[in-house]
């Protein structure tokens, strides 16, 4: 896999102590914030609209352990800016340094952190993880989702356009064949984060990576965003993911 290409709006700041750091941002675009701190910090990324207000969904709250960078004392969080965002502000409780916001440009994949390269302690792109952990493998990091009853991982919502088609694919970690199939369930949300009414039959929109397939079997499945869809999110179950990819169908050629 190619390294994620970072570019555009490179914005740097230095030596901030429990203060705010702001940058202009574009809506529905992938960004990352990077900084250093002597101890795992708590911080918020606050997005304001054109009037300076913060609509619902405009505050991302983070803690250091979940977004630790690969280098010592660095912290990284990748995210999509909300559709209303004009400005992003990093607000920290503790002293942090070398803050920078940068757009994550030209990524092949729609989802964030698809190959877990941000580190084995960095859950960017995965909004909810229960009994799931990113581990270091022989060929890079991988996500292990327990097959226990509540083991699951939910991706961050990814912006989509109604009528366009998106493709889900993955690579399984490790040789051999596990006992359980990997399950991926997808659903579309409207712009306020509500699950669309016709998207409730969760289990009917799924992609199964069967246990007897080779770990790099090129299986995938496509889904078309229904009217009013603004986001897509995926529930990942039961297995080890070396990578999980979301691509827009007409860009698939670039993706693999």
């Amino acid at each position: 896999m190619k390294k994620i290409f970072s570019l555009a709006a490179f914005l740097a700041g230095t030596l901030l102590s429990a203060a705010d750091f702001s940058a202009e941002v574009r809506p529905d675009v992938k960004y990352r914030v990077v900084f250093t701190a002597p101890a795992p910090p708590e911080w918020q990324i606050r997005f304001t609209d054109a009037d300076g207000n913060i609509p619902l969904g405009g505050i991302l709250s983070s803690s250091g352990e979940r977004y630790r960078g690969t280098e010592k004392n660095t912290y990284v969080r990748e995210f999509y800016t909300p559709h209303f965002a004009k400005k992003a502000t990093l607000r920290t409780k503790d002293k942090v340094e070398n803050v920078r916001f940068e757009a994550v440009g030209n990524s092949k994949y729609l989802n964030l952190n698809p190959e877990f390269r941000l580190g084995s302690e960095n859950y960017s792109g995965y909004a909810r993880t229960t009994q799931s952990v990113i581990r270091k493998g022989a060929d890079g990091n991988y996500l292990e989702v327990s097959d226990s009853r509540y083991g699951m991982t939910l991706t961050d919502p990814v912006p989509v356009t109604p009528g366009r088609t998106y493709r889900v694919s993955l690579r399984r970690e490790g040789p051999g064949n596990p006992k359980k199939n990997i399950g991926v369930y997808i659903r579309f949300l409207d712009k306020t984060g509500n699950v669309l009414d016709n998207q409730r039959d969760y289990w009917k929109q799924s992609f199964t990576f069967y246990a007897n397939w080779k770990n790099d079997f090129p299986a995938s499945k496509q889904f078309t965003a229904p009217p009013s869809a603004a986001f897509l999110e995926c529930l990942l179950l039961d297995g080890k993911f070396a990578a999980f990819y979301l691509t827009e169908e007409n860009k698939r050629g670039q993706a693999r």
Binding site: N53, P55, Q131, Y150, W203, L237
Partner: protein, 794 residues
């Protein structure tokens, strides 16, 4: 309980203002209420805390969604108020610190309060879930919106109005039940039914879910429980092979655990210790932030361990000896076992709720003190749903309710009001009385209602679930409201439902249901959770001559209905009504069997091969349950012959069984018949006696004020009861044998003991229920399906 500072005034004002275009400046205190929308434009905004919890974020989205649907105005949701001069709707207790009295009154519950100060409206609760409830209360009190059923097309009915003003903005509700649950049965997961229940104040998710359902249902209920079954935990790692002594003993050996098989050994101390270790291991593996409860479950069976230790009398804390034939014997054994597990789990997880279902044998209040951390969900099963739990016919459940109320602090109820609702049983009246009674005993921690999801199947005949909503949506809605606030009156609730859901057609729909209400409650026949809808329709609609009047009411409603959603609701109601009466009409007329009187019939009672049986009245063939028009295959059918001699009724039952069948099915060659086992009386389904091969029948005296049940199994174990009261003992006898072609039993039933004096009343009724079918397709315990028995005088 509701408290409304300005409620009556606001209601009057709301009515007076209906249809008016309100002018003036938004949020000015000299105008009544809070302006929300004007000419379809937003005149308000919603403010949530900086990090809103899932219930508060959901509340904001729901409020925005329904205001937009009603008025066309899309309210913005912010984390802090803007400078725009509009109505500010603050969601969350973070903004309501000054309302200390409200917060104190709602403490420990998800109750809600709404207060207004000028242009600022505060919706809050002591718990965040209360905010969501507040949003639904606010919509309910200030619009005509109703979440009538989960159906996506027609389930939500409301008027569109581009000008919207909230006028009832000063109230507080503290719920009667802390946890409220619609337990979906037949199909355990249905997102729309879950969402409907959330919008009608349910706050509990239930236990029956596959993994991929969990996240979806969490978006409605926010917390979760995890269920462990003792036998399943104990059986891990092939433990039965190494420690069979932890498992149930029956018929000379220990058995591996099966949900419907013999249960684990509740007196095995080492088994309990192992179970504790397994439970803690499982919790460590399974716990997530959302799990607030661990529930311990057992198999749906009376099949209990019969090892010597389990059959030994129990010395109670007060020194009394509890013998195995005591009702409380098995429950005491069970709760002693569970107390040990509760103690260990509560030490490891001090904030985790620990619960179990007081069901079957565990429904009897035990003679042991409950662990204080244990929540017991009492399941009054089976009771007559037509009368309240305090009525004499349900005396055993009233007694147990009172005993449970004294037994522990955390007692809940698991109810079956929603079952059999594919026939429109007007059951909310009973539910209201029961809920108030239980609340009066301080039983208020949890109420669950078995419900079908609004899930439509392609064939109408199979369409029991959505079919139930077609006719019983009103009852579900009323019971949901009563769980939230049992002080409400069910008649007023029903009227509100009809007027909001059916609007112009409401009076006719109300008339339709009123006919049924009279027919149902004016008849003394009991109603149980497993009533068959078609039999009920045949009895309460056709037989009582209500079909024409009910149809006429619906036809009149169809002429008046205007709102498209109401029209669809009405179409569903009419279609289901017509289906019920159509199938009910195919049920053969109630049969009448003449039972000859023979002075020497007692001889037949002693002899399977007596020639006297040839002179008896004969039921030549049973029908599949609920399908009177169909026949049973010959190798599953039965012949039942009856005689009497004024003193006794003699019943010879020849039950054919397949000679070859699939593994696990009842089949004659493998059927044991050992009448010398001498099982204790009334234990046919209890204490390991359940063999699946039981013949049972029901008799009701001429006045049909009560009925009796008789049963025996292939070993000659006997059971008799008055209704569900197994304490009744009329001294009936039965003998059994197995022939080359059938299993046979002869019953001798003393008539006078049942209050049947042939000289004063010889027209009795009854029902015969075998392993594959019943007389004319009737159901166990369902009196409306009983057929006639004419005891001849000569």
């Amino acid at each position: 309980m509701r408290f409304s500072g300005k409620g009556i005034f606001a209601l009057l004002l709301c009515g007076a203002l209906a249809g008016c275009v309100c002018g003036g400046q938004t949020g000015q205190t000299d105008h009544p209420g809070a302006q929300i929308a004007r000419n379809g434009k937003s005149m308000a905004e919603i403010i949530v805390p900086e990090l809103p919890s899932p219930p508060v974020a959901t509340a904001a989205r729901e409020l925005r969604k329904w205001i937009a649907a009603i008025s066309g105005a899309e309210l913005e949701i912010y984390h802090a108020p803007t400078k725009t001069p509009n109505t500010k709707i603050f969601l969350g207790r973070e903004f309501a610190g000054k309302y200390r009295e409200d917060l104190a009154a709602m403490s420990g519950s998800d109750g809600t309060a709404v207060r207004r100060e000028g242009s600022k409206l505060y919706v809050f609760g002591a718990q965040d879930r209360g905010v969501l409830n507040g949003v639904y209360e606010l919509l309910d009190r200030n619009t005509d919106l109703i979440f009538a059923r989960p159906d996506r097309e027609c389930g939500t009915v409301f008027s569109k109005r581009s000008d919207l003003r909230f006028t009832e903005t000063d109230f507080r509700v503290v719920p009667g039940w802390k946890e409220r649950h619609f337990a979906l049965v037949r199909h355990h997961f249905d997102p729309w039914s879950h969402e409907w229940s959330m919008r009608n104040f349910a706050n509990y998710r239930g236990m029956f879910f596959n993994k991929y359902h969990i996240l979806s249902s969490l978006s409605c209920f926010f917390t979760s429980s995890i269920t462990y079954e003792y036998g399943t935990l104990l059986a891990a790692d092939g433990r039965f092979e190494r420690h069979p002594e932890f498992f149930g003993w029956k018929e000379g050996k220990r058995h591996p655990y099966k949900h419907y098989g013999v249960q684990v050994c509740y007196t095995s101390g080492e088994g309990a210790q192992t179970l504790i270790r397994e439970t803690l291991k499982a919790l460590k593996r399974d716990m997530t932030a959302e799990i607030s409860e661990v529930h311990f479950g057992f198999g749906d069976t009376w099949d209990l361990c019969l090892c010597p230790e389990c059959m030994k009398p129990i010395r109670c804390e007060d020194g009394t000896l509890l013998r195995p034939d005591d009702d409380a014997f098995r429950s005491t054994q069970y709760y002693r076992y569970l107390n040990r597990i509760t103690d260990a789990v509560s030490k490891a997880y001090p904030n985790l709720k620990i619960s179990t279902l007081a069901y079957l044998y565990a429904a009897v209040p035990p003679k042991v003190k409950l662990h204080p951390r244990l929540t017991v969900i009492f399941c009054p099963y089976v009771k007559n749903d037509k009368i309240p739990v305090t009525a004499p016919g349900n005396a055993v459940w009233e007694k147990r309710s009172r005993e449970w109320a004294k037994a522990g602090r955390n007692i809940g109820i698991y109810e079956y009001y929603g079952d059999s609702s594919d026939f429109p049983r007007p059951i909310a009246d009973t539910a209201m009385q029961d809920m108030r009674f239980w609340n009066s005993l301080n039983i208020n921690s949890y109420l669950s209602l078995e419900t079908y999801p609004d899930y439509r199947l392609p064939k109408v005949r199979d369409d029991l679930m959505a079919g139930a909503w077609d006719v019983s949506g009103v009852e579900y809605w009323c019971i949901g409201r009563l769980m939230w606030d049992p002080s409400q009156d069910v008649r007023a609730l029903r009227r509100k439902y009809f007027h909001r859901a059916y609007r112009e057609a409401a009076p006719d729909v109300e008339r339709f249901y009123a006919i049924l209400h009279r027919a149902w409650y004016s008849d003394a026949f009991p109603a149980y959770w497993n009533d068959i809808a078609y039999n009920s329709a045949a009895y309460y609609i056709l037989k009582k001559g209500n079909e024409k009047a009910m149809r006429a009411a619906l036809e009149s409603a169809a002429e008046k209905v205007r709102h498209p959603a109401s029209a669809k609701l009405l179409n569903h109601l009419r279609a289901r009504f017509e289906h019920l009466v159509e199938v009910a009409a195919t049920i053969p007329e109630t049969l009448t069997l003449n039972v000859p009187c023979l002075s020497d019939a007692a001889k037949a009672g002693e002899d399977f091969d007596s020639p006297l049986w040839k002179r008896g009245g004969v039921i030549d063939g049973l029908r599949p349950y609920g399908k009177a028009a169909e026949k049973l295959p010959a190798d599953k059918d039965a012949v039942i012959t009856l005689l009497h001699d004024r003193l006794n009724l003699y019943v010879k039952w020849t039950q054919r069984l397949p000679l070859k069948a699939k593994k696990g099915w009842l089949q004659l060659p493998e059927l044991e018949c050992n009448p010398d086992r001498n099982y204790p009386r009334d234990q046919v389904w209890k204490n390991g006696v359940n063999t699946r091969m039981t013949l049972e029948f029901f008799l009701a005296p001429p006045d049909r004020s009560r009925y009796f049940q008789f049963a025996c199994n292939n070993h000659g174990a006997l059971y008799d009861a008055e209704g569900y009261n197994a304490k009744f003992d009329c001294g009936f006898r039965a003998k059994v044998r197995k022939t080359a072609a059938a299993f046979e039993a002869i019953f001798t039933v003393p008539l006078l003991e049942l209050g049947i004096n042939v000289n004063t009343g010889n027209r009795i009724s009854g029902m015969f229920c075998g392993p594959f079918g019943s007389w004319n397709g009737g159901q166990v315990h369902q009196m409306s399906g009983f057929q006639n028995l004419y005891l001849e005088m000569q």
